[in-house]
Amino acid sequence: MIDPQNHEAISPDLAGYSLDALDDDARELVELHLAGCEDCTSELEELMEGAANLAFTVPTVSPPSGLQDRIIAVINAEMNSSEEPQELIETLRPAVPTPDISLAEPVRAPWYANTRLAWGVSSGIAAAFIALIAVAGVAVTRLNDRVDNLTAQVAAQDSEIVAFTASLGSMEEDAKLASSVDAQQVSVLQESTDTLEQQLNDLRWLQYVTSVGSWSTSSFFSGGLQPQAAQGVFITHSSGDQALLMVNGLGPAPVGSVYQVWLTYEGSMVPGNTFSVDQDGYAVVNLDLSGDATEYIGASVTVEPLGGSASPSDFVVLIGSDQ
């Protein structure tokens, strides 16, 4: 029986070990020896490197196209079976990577640090609202068409909803007066009325911003990393504390992720709402602006994990500024 510490006896087997060419006993001896011999460990590393080169001497053949998906499916199944439900969202995050830029060479500055945000803010903006920027292009035409359609829809629906609301209000009033109506019925009616009022507010807001002259386009977006010609329009409400972002041409966000709007304010990025797009890549997002709308000098859209992020990822799909 060879002593595992016998360097002279065991070191000749290192090459065989690196090629998986030892029988079980000899392999075990080498492993015992390696645990205490730094010289052999270093030599083995060299021999392993030489052996790994042999993998490149084989004519290459492609693996089946579905193999990658099967591997990922196994991993997904393992992860799903080993974690608590509330951790699943965290697990999904890597599917839409937020790269750790510390791993990349060279280290990159945040994307927005290099973005030219020359969104000129004229005194006219502060005095009233930004004038509608006349923008050419198919995307904007499509967006404006949608605005026109919305306006028509609002006009058609508004009167109906007002009439229905009046009817509900009347019913609610009647119910309150009726001694036989219990509190639960009143509550249900009240809830219905609140919902309709909310819808009315939405529609009035839409009606307002879709009236040309009372809404403003303060940004025209151009596709960033998005291969398609994604574009968008940023609309500021006359109140100055609300805005709309309308986007077009965006593909659906990757599984486990959402789009998120970012407003640029004095060099910092203020997170806005998250959103998804429809089959045409179209979406409208409303934004509550804190402070004066004219202080925002740009806006962007990034891909973020579900629920949104506190700081933007590197996956920019739209960047808006007054070029």
């Binding site: 000749p12 087997d13 290192l14 090459a15 065989g16 690196s18 090629l19 998986d20 060419a21 030892l22 029988d23 590393e45 060299e46 021999l47 392993m48 030489g50 052996a51 790994a52 080169n53 042999l54 993998a55 490149f56 001497t57 084989v58 004519p59 290459t60 053949v61 492609s62 693996p63 089946p64 193999l67 990658q68 591997i71 196994v74 991993i75 890597p94 839409v96 990577p97 750790d100 791993l103 060479e105 819808q199 529609l203 807001w205 990393l225 998005q226 291969p227 709309l244 593909g251 990757p254 959103f275 797009v277 429809d278 089959q279 979406a283 409208v284 997002v285 409303n286 996956f315 799909v317």
Partner: protein
């Protein structure tokens, strides 16, 4: 739900294949193998997919070359990348290149499969060239200029080895024979086989030290 989106209708559609995923993948092209492995330690599946794109053809080809069985080679390739996923944290950058670690796993797994199949059977090797240039009609060669260039480079270095050294290396690495089996088949002392293996591998490493680069996506 967003007020305005509610007013417009939900507008949600089922996810499909999207360009953004490809954009995300592009981000990782610049990552080194080691950086991707660090991402995998953090359970980043996209990083594993990137490593798969880089090396799956090599792993599959090696396994197929040794087993001549597409189904078994698929299984080996799957096991290798699942091992990368599960054992990424065990890789020590200071102890060698990622490719050395990866192909070590791939070769070891394939040898296990090969020996399992041949256990108790007499294996005959008429010529070490039996291990070279094997092809199968139902397997399509990978179309990669990088892969072909690497193949030519390493193949040349291997062929430059003395025949005696090349023979023992190929019989063990591709044929799965142990040193003792090779000594019997070549009718050479076991010590001679060991020495030839060691010298051949060291020459191969020196010859290729600066010639192989990490393949790109």
């Amino acid at each position: 739900m967003d007020r305005l989106q509610r007013a417009f209708g939900p507008g949600q559609v089922a996810p499909r294949t999207y360009p953004l995923h490809e954009v995300a993948r592009l981000e990782y092209i610049e990552f080194t193998d080691e950086a991707l492995l660090a991402q995998i330690v953090e359970q980043d599946r996209l990083a594993l997919e990137c490593l798969y794109q880089r090396y799956s053809t090599r792993v599959f080809s090696l396994s197929y070359r040794m087993l001549l069985d597409q189904g078994a080679s698929e299984e080996v390739t799957q096991d290798v990348f699942l091992n990368v996923w599960r054992r990424a944290a065990s890789y020590k950058p200071g102890r060698g290149k990622f490719t050395t670690w990866l192909f070590g796993i791939a070769h070891h797994r394939t040898i296990d499969e090969l020996r399992k199949r041949t256990r108790g059977k007499q294996r005959v090797v008429e010529n070490v060239d039996d291990f070279l240039n094997l092809q199968s009609a139902d397997i399509q060669p990978a179309d990669s200029a990088v892969a072909n260039s690497e193949y030519a480079t390493v193949r040349k270095a291997l062929m430059n080895l003395p025949d005696a050294q090349r023979a023992v290396i190929e019989m063990s690495y591709f044929g799965g024979f142990t040193q003792a089996e090779i000594a019997v088949k070549l009718d050479q002392p076991l010590g001679t086989v060991k020495t030839r293996m060691r010298l051949g591998l060291k020459k191969l490493r020196v010859a290729l030290a600066s010639k192989l680069r990490t393949p790109e996506l």
